[in-house]
């Protein structure tokens, strides 16, 4: 949560809504880029950023991104937890308790 992870901006969904896709170590996720758009030089596809809880917080250069990613990977479980949470989709519906499951139940019943 507290340690930012470095990612590369691979797609801008909407500059107006501050939405973009970043890639961290092969894993892609949407993040908010509103807090780095005021940086000198703006923000563009290909740029590297430090990401905290779904927000790009700081622009960094490519070398720093590579070095800090290599370092965070050395931390083992800290990195594994972070990337697992980074990759996770939010539970919009509660597993086992939603309408879809109820429908499934009906279907398997004779």
């Amino acid at each position: 949560m507290c340690l930012g992870i470095p990612g590369q901006l691979v797609e801008i969904i909407s500059l107006e809504e501050h939405r973009a896709i970043v890639e961290v170590d092969g894993v892609r996720r949407e993040v908010n880029i509103g807090l780095v758009m005021g940086d000198p030089g703006g923000i563009a596809v290909g740029d590297w950023v430090l990401i905290h809880v779904g927000f790009a917080m700081t622009k960094i250069d490519e070398e720093e991104a590579a070095n800090s990613l290599a370092f965070i990977k050395l931390l083992g479980s800290v990195y594994d937890d972070e990337i697992e949470q980074f990759a996770a989709e939010p539970e919009l519906t509660l597993a086992g308790d939603d309408a879809a499951t109820a429908a499934d139940d009906k279907m398997v019943r004779p």
Partner: protein, 376 residues
């Protein structure tokens, strides 16, 4: 130097260690160690993981600070969170780090097992998405963290307002880094010779807010990155200041930190939050103006107002010495319950829960590398 070989630049690390040794021996010929506090839990993690303490001469001692946002949440706030989570129509969302933090009566994971709808989220924006997908439920986000995560909560609140989402609210526990630093500097039981300033918090607030450390308290501070070499270089910079009779805020982490910080983030913080008159910190007690709450303009999205939070106050368990660990007065392994009653699997104190907590870091790595206590 077994550990140095694993560093990105072993030669530079060796040079730094040699310079630390030379400068420190000149500064304290008597051998009484110089004490530097690393404020940030991320730094503590690096220090234990990479055995940095074992590289340092006996004249330099690292003291672990309070910069782990999970560790400083008092037990009563966790109980408050659980009380909200257990309300019938609530979906309670939290970062994974907070799920196992014990309150006075259980943790969020246990509340979930007992039937509360508690969901882990990576980002406050995910909590907002859950609110939009469940318009007939009340979705509460458990906001924790220093200035690294507070802007994200602020932006999320602005988005909720913009999109007219009314079934979303924030249980705000954001804290700020400067007041606990002041509290530590004014604490009578701790003598420090300088600070390694936090890295990622400083990308947001910049280096400027630390000027009071040399200005008012006469101690140098160097903001550092998270790699082992960063920490060694920050120590060199601190020792050079002491040797040359300087006392300043310096920046070792120029790759990411500027003097002024992230102006946009700071602007949004002041738009959405205001300072609480006081806030309780685990182990440090009440510190005035040390935490954030939603400003009156966002009061309708404040979970504390929406749900009449019980406002539980729970004394820390007697056996637990997290407070002393957080202030750097004792080392993790000097705590009475460290590694026996208190382990990462069954933590008593917060310092053992969070992976950035000094106790968890030491438990996970330190025991492998710690050399016997240095003789006087």
């Amino acid at each position: 130097m077994r550990f140095v070989d694993e560093y990105r630049d072993p030669a530079a690390a060796r040079l730094a260690v040699a310079e630390i040794e030379t400068l420190a021996s000149r500064l304290v010929p008597s051998g009484e160690p110089l004490k530097f506090m690393e404020v940030c839990g991320g730094h503590t993690h690096t220090i234990y993981k990479h055995g940095i303490e074992n590289l340092l001469p006996s004249t330099v001692e690292l003291v672990h600070g309070p910069g782990c946002p999970v560790c400083v949440i008092p037990m009563g706030r966790v109980d408050d969170a659980i009380a909200v989570a257990k309300r019938p129509n609530v979906i309670f969302t939290s970062f994974g780090d907070m799920m196992r933090v014990p309150g006075g009566s259980g943790n969020l994971l246990e509340a979930k097992a007992q039937g509360a709808d508690v969901r882990m989220v990576y980002s406050p924006l995910d909590a907002l998405r859950i609110a939009e997908a469940n318009p007939d439920r009340e979705v509460v986000f458990f906001a924790v963290g220093f200035e690294t995560t507070a802007p994200s909560t602020a932006v999320t609140l602005l988005k909720a307002r913009e999109r007219g989402v009314t079934n979303f609210s924030v249980f705000c526990n954001h804290v700020t880094i400067v007041p606990p630093l002041k509290a530590i500097l004014e604490s009578p039981d701790l003598r420090l010779d300088g600070f390694i300033g936090p890295g990622h918090v400083s990308t947001v607030i910049g280096n400027r807010p630390y000027r009071f450390v040399p200005g008012t308290y006469g101690k140098p501070l160097v903001t550092a990155g998270f790699e082992p070499l960063d920490i060694l270089q920050a120590l060199v910079m601190l020792l050079r200041q002491l040797t040359e009779g300087r006392c300043e805020v310096e920046n070792q982490y120029t790759r990411a930190v500027t003097d002024g910080g992230n102006r946009k983030a700071l602007e949004i913080l002041s738009q959405v939050f205001e300072l609480r008159p006081h806030f309780e910190w685990r182990g440090l007690g009440f510190i005035s103006q040390s935490a954030l709450k939603l400003s009156p303009e966002f009061a309708d999205l404040d979970a504390e107002l929406r749900f009449a939070v019980p406002g539980v106050r729970v004394a820390d368990p007697k056996a637990c010495q997290c407070g002393e660990v957080l202030k750097g007065v004792i080392k993790p392994w000097e705590c009475k319950v460290f590694g026996t009653a208190c382990t990462p699997e069954t933590p008593i104190g917060t310092c053992m829960v969070s992976s950035e907590g000094a106790c968890a870091a030491y438990y996970n790595y330190g025991r492998l590398t710690k050399i016997p206590v240095k003789s006087a």
